[in-house]
Amino acid sequence: MNIVISEDDLVGPLREALLVAAVAGMSGALRVTGDPGGTIHLADGRVVGIDTPGAPGPEVLLLRSHRVSEPDWDTAFAAAAATGGPLGAELVKRGLIGSGELEVLLWTTVADAMFVLASGSVDEYRAEPGPVEFVLPLDPGAEADWLLAETARRLRVLESLPARPDRDRVVAVSGAERSGDRLAGGQSEILALADGRRTPRDLAFALGRGVYGTLLQLARMHEAGLLVTASYRAGFQFGARKTAHPAAGGKPVPADGLPRRSKDPAALARRVVPLGRTRDLPATLGLLRPRARRDADAGETP
């Protein structure tokens, strides 16, 4: 029997969650438990930011790429915290980044994090309506339709690649840096860091780049013979999320035997829009996170 994976299956259970949240115009957080898991921040049903240990956020991208220096970031951060104004507006006002450029960065960061969440495993998700708590929110946020279509496109592209170094530690081939072929943009930086200890995720964090863009670059470099796999590691494989396959009778069963969420749409709607619900997490203002903690969040995979 041929099993056809539809677009819905490609993105996985988060598709349904995002669409319901969009229809309900939900504001707050969608907490995703799994590997790597994370939190999807929503405003009026649109995704304004995603926190996940699997992909670098806008702060990491700006600082690690040296687009914004740490002292400039800290000064803007302190000024925004003091006035209660948005950090993004403060960065633009200080001439550290253009308004359009920041918007592009936030769109691509949200797409990257969603791709990483959808590539991993989702054990459970929980909606927590409330105020938006994200340091650099996209305003207006990304529409669920756009985000899901882009995630599906990325997963399809990844499936089609001949070389997929998605969870492996990679190492530069001896002499690759001095090879006669001219290296494309960003490849020499990867070669310098590909020491056999870093995964694609580690490289993305270290270089201040998106995970998906890094994976594409690594695949090209593998194909060009510039990199080899040093060792395989435990962890989820991008684009190879465990999918519930139809069993006899047409009902989906878990691929791994673990408990799954209910697919009852009515139950889902009730879970996503629990009016008057008390939040069970403290409404910690992300802006007040100390510098050291923020840096620690961007650490390498052990």
């Binding site: 790429s65 359009g100 592009v104 496109r153 592209v157 001219r182 594409l216």
Partner: protein, 122 residues
């Protein structure tokens, strides 16, 4: 309205423009678009990003001609202008403009897009 949508709207207001979009060269993602893009536009955008990346490898920084600045693709009825917008982090963006060739002067259209391009990321 977002800053990007506003800037792209100005590009789309040029004579003969059918659609305008910002495409991330590194990932092929259509970040924003305005106007009426053709069906299958995301796949076409990814191809354009590939094309820009390959052209840059041949004509990129360090080469005698300098970095790639613009790609023009011309058919009987269409003119596609793709202007490179450098960004960091990332491999830059394509400001892609789909024009009706029968309504525009190619040189003038290129000049107009070039004049509006810097404001897109500002």
């Amino acid at each position: 309205m977002s800053s990007l949508a506003d800037s792209l709207g100005q590009v789309a207001a040029l004579q003969g423009v059918r659609a305008a979009a910002l495409i991330d060269i590194e990932t092929g993602t259509v970040v924003r678009s305005v106007g009426a893009p053709r069906s299958g536009f995301p796949a076409a955008a990814a191809s354009m990003a590939d094309e820009a990346r390959l052209a840059r490898a041949a004509l990129g920084p360090g080469e005698p001609g300098g970095d790639l600045d613009e790609i023009a693709l011309v058919t009987d009825g269409q003119l596609h202008l793709s202007k490179i917008l450098p960004t960091r982090p990332g491999g830059g963006l394509l400001l892609f403009v789909d024009l009706d060739r029968n309504q525009v002067n190619m040189g003038l259209a290129s000049l107009q897009v070039r004049q509006l391009a810097p404001a897109v990321l500002a």
